[in-house]
Amino acid sequence: MWTGRLRNSGWQGASLVAITYIYFLIFAQFAFLGRLAALGIAGTNLKAVMAAMAAGGILLSLLTPRISLWSSPLLRLRLGLSMSSAAAFLALLPLSISVAIAVALLIGAGLGLLTVTLVTHLGQWCGEKNQLLKVGLGTGIGYLLCNIPAFFAASPQVQAVAAGLLCLAGIGITPRAIEVKPNSRSTDRPAALPFSFIVACFAALVWLDSAAFFIIQHTASLKAGTWQGTAHLWTNGALHLCAALGSAWLLRRRALSFVLSLAFFVLACACLLLLDPARILPASVLYPIGVSLYSVALVAYPSLISPAASIAQRGRQAGWLYAIAGWVASALGIGMGQNLGHVPPAFVAAAGAIVLLPWLLKICRMRTREIGLVAVVLLAAFLIQRIHVALHAGDPLSQVERGRRVYISEGCIHCHSQYVRPDTKDVLMWGPVESIEDLRRERPPLIGNRRQGPDLAEVGGRRSPLWLKMHFFDPAEVSGASIMPSYAFLFRDGRGNDLVEYLESLRGPGTQQHVTEEEQWRPSAAALAGVDAADGERLFRRDCATCHSSDGHTRAIWQASFKRLPPDLSAGPFFYLPPAEMPELRFERLAQITRFGIPGTDMAGHEYLTGKQTASIALWLLRNMPQAHPSQKQSIP
């Protein structure tokens, strides 16, 4: 009785699904390729081997439901597992190219036979209740086990042996007998969509998945952000399991088209995010979710959801589905990754048009007026815009004008003002003051209304082009506790240099006068009263050490670009300081330089520091700088 209940629980179905996925993912996709690489099979030879695998898969996927030889499902299942297991063990041998092709053919054929047989009869091995959940569980566990760090990072030989043993275990757990029913379906909500459409949807999803997989696998930065490291792998495994269970739940609650649309949306986002290596983190979260969402459906559709009229029809559908969507689309996806190195957004849109077709048709049918009016408005706008651009094509913009466009495009105005308020603290920090007449000459004025960062009205007088560039690459490194994001991407094309040129142009006629006022600045008595050398050291480490210590990060990266390498303040030389015998003057000058920088050099000021903070840094420097330096000069070379 107990064994009967266990048999009806459906664990065999879930286990077989898990074994099949593990074999495919860890052996056919990884370990076998690793073995081929170790054997020196690459280039055209590798393509021939992979083509043989695909040919075997397609052939057996299509033939399995059509030939009557060894028609017992159990026999076929065991045969498929045996072939797969044998291929895994054979892969351990030192293969020549011809033997490798034969083994690849065996892998493909074994998988073709195994997958089509399994899904054709899976309904009878998944118990009587919650069959979709068993499929989800099997898929999720399969992916989770593949992502266990020790297994994932094991040698190809170990992975091949594990895959082979798992297949043998699969033979052991197959039921002794099978009750052949005319047809069985676990869901009371049959898919009403045409089979050819379903195949096209899965093909689109597999294509996206394979392309993304190949791109990640062959791009070091992307691979590092997804599949390297214990934390990444456990996260991926957990995401796969959760998404697989979620997919099963959604297949039960909602239609198949909903799950496919959701999987598309998630995968499409992942593919688009992969266009920019900076966005690998969200892509690495979305990719496993999208894959597991559709992977469950790929098993559940032919086995449990398809409204096939007979077992034979179910088998034929599974054969076509795996031949076209599984093998052909996968090969095409890998080809896309290989040749383009990215998934073109236009292809993502085309895939979306296929997967979302039922929704689009439904919306078109029910919302004719709405779509018509939206189309008219957007199309009319497009035409008017084209005409407008054609009529107003003027002279090419100067670099400064282009830089101003970049400033506007990036929304810099939302954090940086360009207005120095007269008779306020602004003047000394960010001055000099610009006249209203000068302001009105700008088209449009970029005054802004909020400061999350410094005012930039006169930034060209305070910062060198190199400093601006360094800051755009890594603001937090160059500017202490800056909250500004990196704009390194602007330097992939000309936008970054344009922006730097524009910012350098922001300086008025009063710059020289302003420098004089800066030189007259001294820390106030209140600032001097609260001065704290320990705090000065902390601030030095945060704001200055990146350029002024021998191992400073900014100094190391940009050392070839500086007009003159920033002095290591523990060694010198100190061209801009009074002699050590005049400590009071030296302290004042240090405070001035800390606060306002050195005009005409790459040394920028730290205007946002308080007087006390500035004095603290100056005091700490004064106490810790060498009193004299062999190469110290009183005049600037």
């Binding site: 810099c412 308020r421 008779d423």
Partner: protein
């Protein structure tokens, strides 16, 4: 038969308004979600690298424009549908397409903003393709209103003729709006500048405030009927508005400092609306379920008038300019006053369906969170005014305040989500029976 027709017409009207509410709330939720994301980024700048080229600055443009042209503008479509009768009869079938066109142009505009298209003008950020698409969507609305106006010709008494004249004038003004948006978004033309702050002058603030007052005075005529009590308040309000318009013209449009007494005293003339606005609204009949939001909008209006004037005073504005304090003030205007006003208008138009906005939890969650947000930003602004580096770099006090601000943002998002869910339920209930059956069949 007439009763049936009236019922059908009422159902149409209710459905059109419910659709407006849903679209408005959708943009409110999207805008709030972006706002929460931006608040998180200010606390954890390292997360910026997730965004790639869609940086903080570009999302700010989307956030502000969706709040203004999505949430804050769409409810006025409900008002216009009602006033011009577009929500009833054959025209009603075109209300939803017009809403779609509006929302589609906003969605496309959002993509263009994220792609780096911007005019560089705050609150008039229409550039490139979106600068044409959005005015065209407004034009589609105008055509619907004009068609509804032409279709409804009834009544020959003086009141009816007056109403038709006012509507015709309204149509003429509305026709100019798309063109005005297009022109004003261009690089040329900039309002008067206060030379001491770089912000607007007192006269220009008075001018824009008077437009708001004019809308406030006009709204009740399209929403309800006058009561016999307090007739003086209605007449007096219009007379005061006219007088202030004259004062505004007299102040001129020069670049004048807020230190000039004429500027801050002129702006102070708005304080007369503290007693006048409640009295004016008390002279009209309102649905019982509007009371909560009507009171809220009047309180926020009072807070806005007082804080707006105080923040403009010499010394005070010099301290708060460019700080979080003025962000808090803008929030009083948008999330406090304007949101409460818009919800009040929608509840009045939705009638019994206004329940989607009147739940106790979401009402209190929204209003108290907005108040907390404003207080937090005022404190941050005060500290920043004393020490400009306060918000430029990460620090403990700044971070605590920003965490609190984030918490208020999350609460506001939760409240707006509840409204959106309720609006979706309402829409489903208001769906015509055949369409619902078809949907269920398809499912």
């Amino acid at each position: 038969m007439n009763a049936n027709r009236a019922d059908a017409s009422s159902r149409d009207g209710s459905r059109a308004i419910a659709h407006v509410a849903w679209h408005s709330l959708l943009w409110l939720v999207v805008g709030n979600s972006i706002g929460v994301m931006l608040a998180v980024l200010l606390l954890a700048p390292a997360l910026n690298r997730w965004l790639g080229e869609w940086t903080y600055g570009r999302w700010m443009i989307v956030h502000m424009n969706l709040a203004l042209y999505g949430w804050a503008s769409l409810p006025m479509l409900a008002f216009l549908f009602k006033v011009y009768g577009a929500d009833r009869g054959p025209a009603a079938a075109w209300c939803r397409p017009v809403l779609w066109a509006w929302s589609a142009s906003l969605a496309v505009a959002s993509l263009t903003w994220l792609s780096g298209e911007s005019s560089g003008k705050l609150f008039l950020d229409w550039s490139g393709y979106a600068r044409i698409a959005f005015p065209l969507a407004m034009l589609a609305l105008w055509l619907l209103l004009a068609a509804s106006f032409v279709r409804t010709r009834k009544g020959a008494d003086h009141a009816a003729w007056f109403a038709r004249g006012a509507k015709l004038l309204g149509l003429a003004i509305l026709l100019a709006v798309p063109l005005a948006i297009y022109v004003a978004s261009g690089p040329n033309g900039y309002p008067p500048v206060n030379p001491d702050t770089g912000g607007p002058t007192g006269a220009s603030q008075l001018e824009s405030s008077l437009f708001v007052v004019a809308i406030l005075l006009m709204l009740p005529f399209g929403l309800t009927r006058r009561k016999s009590v307090r007739p003086w308040a209605v007449g007096a309000s219009w007379v005061v508005l006219a007088a202030e318009a004259v004062l505004c013209i007299a102040l001129g449009r020069a670049d004048v400092s807020h230190h000039r007494p004429a500027q801050f005293l002129g702006l102070g003339s708005l304080l007369i609306w503290l007693p006048l606005t409640p009295a004016y609204y008390a002279a009209f009949e309102w649905r019982a379920n509007t009371r909560r939001w009507r009171n809220a909008f009047l309180w926020w209006w009072a807070a806005l008038l007082v804080s707006g004037w105080i923040l403009f005073l010499p010394g005070v504005l010099d301290h708060f300019k460019f700080t979080d304090g003025l962000v808090g003030h803008s929030f009083t205007a948008m999330a406090g006053f304007l949101s409460a006003l818009l919800i009040f208008v929608m509840v009045q138009l939705l009638g019994d369906d206004g329940w989607i906005f009147t739940r106790t939890w979401s009402f209190h969650a929204w209003n108290w969170s907005v108040l907390a947000y404003v207080v937090i930003m005022m404190v941050a602004g005060w500290l920043e005014g004393s020490e400009p580096a306060f918000t430029i770099s990460l620090g403990a006090a700044r971070n605590v305040l920003y965490i609190l601000r984030l918490a208020t943002g999350v609460i506001m998002l939760a409240a707006s989500l509840e409204w959106l869910v309720d609006a979706s339920v309402l829409l489903r209930e208001r769906e015509p029976v055949p369409a619902r059956a078809a949907q269920e069949k398809t499912a």
